[in-house]
């Protein structure tokens, strides 16, 4: 069954649906046009003013990310990236396949494609949370009228006839949701000159300088714990960018006391925020910890609570593949930032950090370039969406450039 999300939801059959999408193939706009930016700013205002959305940190983050000033910066960056003399053009018709469980990804993906001038089909899960429902109503209302024929929010089954019928119409396809989904969706081709971008399974780590943590004040430590909480717990530690491993960089001797200090602060934040996991997950976490210990892949395990469990591991790169989410941290100590390279693989997405300077971080970026790790940002910004995601500058991939020469 195919559902169209509008002011009211309606259902259509395959024939109608593909006709509808066909009609969108040439419906694009000029990239970075002011009226497109206005739509985004308008939605941002509404998000930040709607109580049901303002109550959820992820939606507040989204609202801020797409406010006028922030979008202007993205526009400036994109203009700067256009080869001198080239004219920016939309890519055409885009298909967005956001993950089922992360409520805001579809908006980031759609907003960038909107300002790229593309027309967009966004495939939504059959049911969404009440705040997401409210957000969708705002978006659908904002694009109604003149631009409504350029944006379609819908639900259709994966892997079936619908997917096969419509896919060949798309110039661009953005797939969020892990290895399996990317592989499965990519079995169905889009236009021969189309571009399919997949965001596969990734894991993330946090680096803490032993020396900096040691020097930091009570307030700084408490603040770090809150930031770490936000990074790890907003998406039950299951987001690609949520840190699973904490690597303490510096002498191992003082690390143990410091890490206990941080985890007890983190435990207080967990309690203050009222974060809880189901008992079955608590048991699953205990199981993975026991497995790691039994295998010698963990040395010491500590259960601070059902929501916070830490295992220190002599094999961080391997152990990184073994998380459960919901507050399961691996921990290791590395002598120096240059050792971080040993943690990095193609599957590593975000490195968050505390206590390093820009020079050290740039050096780190150079040392991992080509191996993995696509974002190096402070602890507290793990989940902040950036227009360059997984190393892909999205807006340039969502547009084309026309080479123009007069003589």
């Amino acid at each position: 069954m195919i559902t169209l999300w509008g002011a009211e939801r309606s259902t259509v059959d395959i024939a109608e649906f593909s006709k509808l999408i066909e009609s969108m193939t040439d419906a694009h706009a000029a990239p970075l046009a002011p009226e497109l930016l206005d739509i985004v700013a308008h939605i941002s205002n509404l998000i930040l003013r709607t109580p049901v959305l303002r109550a959820v940190p992820q939606f507040v983050a989204l609202g801020y990310w797409m406010r006028a000033a922030a979008i202007r910066r993205i526009v400036t960056d994109s203009r700067a990236a256009v080869v001198d003399g080239n004219v920016l053009a939309p890519r055409g018709l885009a298909l967005h396949l956001p993950p089922t469980n992360v409520d805001t990804i579809f908006v980031y993906s759609w907003v960038l494609s909107l300002i790229a001038g593309n027309s967009n089909v966004v495939r939504l899960p059959a049911t969404v949370s009440p705040p997401t429902e409210a957000l969708l109503a705002i978006i659908i209302d904002a694009v109604s009228g003149r631009t409504s024929s350029k944006h379609l929010f819908c639900t259709y089954p994966y892997g079936g006839e619908v997917e096969h019928r419509i896919s060949s119409l798309f110039d661009l396809r953005i797939i969020w949701g892990g290895d399996e989904k990317v592989a499965s969706v990519n079995k169905v081709p889009i236009r021969p000159d189309g571009l399919s971008i997949g965001f596969p399974d990734r894991q993330s780590v946090a680096l803490i300088s032993v020396e900096s943590y040691d020097r930091s004040t009570e307030e700084e430590r408490d603040e770090l714990a809150v930031r770490l909480f936000n990074d790890a717990y907003w998406f039950d530690q299951m987001g690609c960018s949520s840190p699973r491993l904490l690597a303490w960089i510096g002498p191992a001797t003082s690390q143990e006391t410091l890490s206990r200090d941080l985890y007890s602060r983190l435990q207080s934040v967990i309690e203050r925020k009222g974060y809880e996991v189901a008992p079955s997950l608590a048991v699953a976490k205990l199981l993975v910890m026991n497995e790691l210990l039994a295998e010698g892949a963990g040395q010491h395990g500590e259960r601070y609570s059902s929501e916070l469990q830490v295992v220190d591991t002599p094999e961080p790169a391997a152990a990184l593949q073994r998380g459960t989410g919901g507050g399961f941290f691996l921990e290791c100590t590395l002598d120096d930032l240059s050792d971080v390279r040993s943690l990095v693989s193609r599957k590593l997405q975000t490195i968050t950090h505390f206590g390093f300077d820009l020079g050290q971080l740039r050096e780190l970026a150079h040392s991992v370039a080509g191996i993995g790790a696509y974002r190096i940002v402070p602890i507290g910004q793990a989940l902040d969406f950036h227009a360059t995601w997984d190393g892909v500058p999205l807006l340039s991939h969502m547009t084309r450039q026309i080479v123009v020469k007069a003589t």
């Binding site: 993950p99 089922t100 469980n101 992360v102 990804i105 899960p125 059959a126 049911t127 994966y158 892997g159 969020w176 949701g177 892990g178 290895d179 399996e180 989904k181 499965s184 965001f199 399974d201 990734r202 998406f235 039950d236 530690q237 299951m238 987001g239 690609c240 809880e276 996991v277 189901a278 008992p279 079955s280 997950l281 608590a282 048991v283 205990l286 199981l287 910890m289 026991n290 497995e291 210990l293 039994a294 295998e295 010698g296 963990g298 040395q299 010491h300 395990g301 500590e302 259960r303 609570s305 059902s306 989410g325 919901g326």
Partner: protein, 359 residues
């Protein structure tokens, strides 16, 4: 065999009151913890890495426990490979990992003796003629040989002159059952089957046949999940058997392959009672701290039987509650427990979609 187990088996089954039981188990479990710590490297790593390396304890609650599913991913044994006589596996749906439990001859003998000791409590000392609510194909056909087959075989050694109530297609074998009852001429006998089979393939097929099973003891196990889906409770189960067959001596039991030989047997009030050499701790589902009587929590099983593998203290994924302690001294001493099914599964959010399940 550790001496504490020897002691527990020497006295009448299900007779050790809670206070005495705590003392015997504390001493025995400390000894087993030490034994497995010395002989099973992965177990030692867990005790060192999570339990502070301790192997002697002030109270039962402090004895380290393993999450029971660890036997699915790790081969844990405290004897050399050459001493392993049999590897038991748990039931599990296709594709799921199964537990692998390593028994040497000594532990295998221990568990058989202990199980005999428990069953004797409701069957008497004589081995009785036995009606099995299953098909003999379940263990005769190697393709079908499963945890169910192993379970049937395991219990069969406690009866004699076995007759199978079902055909290989799990249809009723009315003639075999009729001939069995004819031969017995009213003498006592023993019926065993898995709870779901006993209901669906025996009660439902035989209820209208006018059988007199009043001389039988029915022992069944396997869990209530499938029957709960059919809205059949233990009380209804027992009432139905009483009415249809005059069968009143019915004992459910709870046990798992990870503690093979240890069964919590149904006694008064439909409660389950651990044998002398075993006990249950209920743990708060959030804190994992021991829960008081009457509070629902996660079931931890303690048993003195596992000598060749470190299964003497396991945290299950089942919920349960202690309903009574020492309310039936002598006959059904210690804790009376109710098992309330599996912990509900939880779904976490995340960037990764499960294809096929994705909404």
């Amino acid at each position: 065999m550790i001496k504490e187990l020897e002691q527990s088996l020497a006295i009448p089954p299900y007779s050790v009151s809670q206070g005495a039981r705590d003392r015997i188990l504390l001493s025995g479990l400390s000894r087993l913890t030490q034994l497995h710590y010395e002989r099973c490297v992965p177990y030692r790593r867990i005790v060192d890495g999570y339990w502070g390396g301790r192997t002697d304890f002030q109270d039962l609650e402090a004895v380290p426990y393993l999450p029971v599913s660890i036997f699915k991913s790790q081969l844990l044994q405290s004897v050399p490979d050459s001493a392993v006589r049999v590897t038991l596996t748990s039931s599990g749906t296709t594709g799921q990992a199964v537990s692998r439990i390593r028994l040497d001859s000594a532990t295998s003998a221990i568990q058989q003796r202990a199980l005999a000791n428990s069953l004797m409590h409701v069957l008497g000392k004589q081995r009785l003629p036995m009606l099995v609510i299953d098909t003999d194909a379940v263990f005769k056909d190697p393709k079908l040989m499963s945890a169910r087959g192993a379970g049937v075989l395991g219990i069969m050694r406690y009866g004699r002159d076995h007759v199978f109530a079902l055909t290989p297609d799990l249809d009723a074998n009315y003639d075999a059952v009729a001939a069995f009852l004819d031969r017995l001429q009213g003498r006592p006998f023993f019926i065993f089957g898995f709870t779901f089979m006993v209901w669906v393939r025996f009660y439902e097929l035989f209820a209208k046949r006018g059988l007199d099973l009043s001389n039988a003891v029915l022992i069944h196990s396997g869990g209530w999940k499938k029957l709960a889906e059919r809205a059949v409770s233990n009380e209804e189960f027992k009432a139905a058997f009483r009415e249809a067959f005059g069968l009143t001596r019915i004992h459910n039991f709870y046990g798992m392959v990870e503690q093979i030989g240890t069964i919590l047997l149904e006694g008064p009030g439909g409660l389950l009672f651990p044998p002398n050499f075993a006990d249950v701790i209920i743990r708060d589902p959030r804190t994992f701290e021991p829960a008081p009587i009457g509070q629902i929590g996660i079931v931890q099983l303690l048993s003195l039987l596992p000598h060749s593998y470190p299964g003497h203290s396991v945290l299950t994924e089942d919920l349960g509650v202690i309903e009574s302690i020492n309310e039936h001294p002598g006959e059904w001493a210690g804790k009376g427990i109710r098992i309330l099914g599996r912990l509900p599964r939880s779904e976490l959010r995340g960037c990764s979609d499960v294809i096929g399940v994705a909404a």
